[in-house]
């Protein structure tokens, strides 16, 4: 009997939760704010679903109810992707070590 592909996805999901658990515990508390903004950005990979939805219209009518929701989702996710990664970059650039000559 063949195994339902859902089981494979479920395995990936469960294992990723564990990976996430250990990776996030190793994040230094001082970087918890960038952690939140970067998780924000990466969870917007939901844009892949939005793109499929947006492209679902046929060539005669690009816009139907379904694809319009797709396009809106693309815009929302794009705000998050650009905003999330850039603001994380901006924050991380501020974390500096003590200058040695100042000691």
């Amino acid at each position: 009997m063949e195994i339902d592909p859902l089981i494979f996805r479920l395995s990936i999901f469960i294992l990723s939760i564990f990976v996430g658990y250990y990776v996030v515990w190793s994040v230094t508390p001082s970087l918890h704010t960038p952690l939140m903004s970067v998780t924000n950005a990466i969870s917007s990979v939901i844009i892949v679903g939005a793109i499929i939805a947006g492209l679902s219209g046929n060539s005669d009518s690009i816009f139907n109810t379904s694809s319009i929701f797709g396009f809106l989702a693309i815009a929302l996710a794009a705000i998050n992707i650009f905003g999330g990664f850039l603001v994380t970059q901006r924050m991380l650039a501020m974390y500096k070590k003590k200058k040695k000559d100042k000691k």
Partner: protein, 465 residues
């Protein structure tokens, strides 16, 4: 057009890159590289999606237009936002992830053929379950984050909004969501789908209104977690590995952060979520409050104390963020350092309105991160320090948490500020903090209260040093 297998492998690669992005955050040196991994993962995921649909017609151009439109808004916000507004920004971003998940679910529900999920009215059962869970969690994330955003932004009062029968009502709604999902899956009725969305929006709103402003660190982390689970739900629907991995990562990340925040307050997750904290305690504490003498001073006194100290520990809190005093504080510290005074910063896990809030503000003010310490690292040093400079923090320094079992914050880990030889407490008035309780520290022999705006006081002290 690339094969489904090849694109699945690329999605896996981008999932791994996202793991590396989070891994990079284990230290500030590797974090910037980690962020680049994240960006790379995102570029791969988007490119592969384009290649696998193989659709480069007019629709493709519109997709690009919408990405650029959203992207430029996002980039604009990212560059303009002041660091003190980071909690609002993150809450706002969460709401967008939630809404995007809802929209994708709606789109998949209306046009399941595009996603290979069956036909309208006859969607594969598994996909429909995943889709409705993703949509419901997404909707809760959206409306909850909007409320969190409004509270943090100050548009809505930060105090808890409670009413009679609130918890039973919420419980009924949550149960009805489960029932609706069950009915939706057995009837495939689109009306039920819309009702499910409406009810989920409603519960997100109701769940967050009773939670007060200072509990926002928990709320934001929780919503962070929800946005992950919503993404994972959609990932299962779309059978997309990148989305499943990311959803799981973000979901567990948010859950861990909420756990850390709850522990920082010694409160159970349910205690925070049920809300109303700080609203009920008010009456009892104000009636028993007696007038006790406090020593108050001015910038001159503070400067004198600090000039004669050999080590100073700074305890920042949300008040510093409100007063935007981080730069003034850094200037004061620079002057102290010129006088060979050792300065370090002590950060309580729940200081501020989101995890790590204080660290970002100090980093913005060019404070080197190796001068900034977490509670466990620095708590023993207070006994050897000459001056503790508490700026905008209150409850996290309250010794009552260690001494009075009756106190609502009893058992919460606090900074042992009172062990310092002297304590300088910058605060606008004697009013109790968020927990609604008096801080014993105000009345200690060795405490000098500095009643002023945090920024102005810090500037004045610098002038007097």
């Amino acid at each position: 057009m690339i094969s489904a297998n090849l694109s699945a492998i690329f999605y896996l690669v981008s999932g791994v890159l996202f793991i590396l992005a989070l891994r990079g955050l284990s230290s500030p040196e590797t974090s910037r590289q980690g962020n680049l991994f994240g960006i790379l993962g995102m570029i791969i995921a988007i490119t592969v999606t384009f290649l696998s649909t193989g659709n480069f017609s007019t629709g493709f151009i519109f997709v690009i237009i919408f990405i650029l439109a959203g992207g430029s808004i996002g980039a604009f916000i990212a560059y303009r936002i002041p660091m003190t507004a980071m909690p609002e920004l993150v809450a706002g971003f969460h709401s967008l992830v939630g809404l995007a998940a809802v929209f994708v679910a709606i789109s998949a529900f209306l046009n399941p053929e595009a996603f290979n999920l069956g036909t309208p009215g006859n969607i594969k059962l598994g996909s429909l379950i995943e889709m409705s869970i993703g949509a419901a969690v997404g909707a809760i994330t959206f409306s909850g984050s909007v409320i969190a955003f409004l509270k943090l932004q100050g548009i809505m009062s930060g105090s808890p909004i409670t009413f009679k029968g609130q918890h039973p009502l919420n419980a009924i709604i949550l149960i009805s969501i489960v029932v609706l999902i069950y009915l939706l899956c057995s009837t495939q009725s689109s009306n039920l789908f819309w009702i499910l969305l409406a009810v989920s929006f409603l519960i997100g709103f109701l769940l967050i209104i009773p939670i007060g402003g200072a509990d926002m660190p928990v709320v934001i982390s929780m919503l962070n977690s929800y946005s992950g689970w919503a993404a994972a739900g959609i990932g299962f629907t779309l059978e997309n590995t990148a989305l499943i991995i990311t959803g799981a990562l973000v979901g567990s990340s948010g859950a861990i952060l909420s756990y850390i925040m709850c522990k920082g307050m010694n409160r159970s997750f349910f205690n925070v979520i049920l809300g109303g904290f700080g609203a009920t305690e008010d009456t009892s504490s104000s009636s028993t409050k007696e007038q006790r003498p406090v020593k108050s001073g001015n910038a001159d006194d503070a400067a004198f104390l600090m000039k004669n100290a050999s080590s100073v520990i700074i305890v920042p809190g949300y008040g510093m963020a409100v007063a935007q005093a981080q730069h003034a504080l850094r200037e004061m510290v620079d002057t102290l350092k010129k006088n060979d005074i050792k300065v370090s910063y002590a950060i309580h896990p729940v200081a501020g309105r989101m995890p790590g809030h204080m660290n970002v503000l100090l980093a913005e003010a060019n404070v080197p991160y190796d001068e900034v310490f977490e509670l466990e690292e620095i708590n023993n040093d207070f006994a050897n320090a000459d001056v503790a400079f508490v700026i905008g923090a209150n409850d996290v320094t309250n010794p009552v948490a260690k001494t009075d079992p009756q106190s609502p914050i009893f058992g919460m880990p606090v900074l042992d500020v009172e062990k310092c030889k002297s304590v300088l407490f910058v605060k606008r008035s004697l009013s109790p903090g968020y927990a609604g309780i008096d801080n014993d520290l105000f009345y200690k022999e060795n405490t000098l209260m500095l009643f002023a705006d945090a920024k102005k006081m810090t500037e004045d002290i610098t002038k007097n040093l």
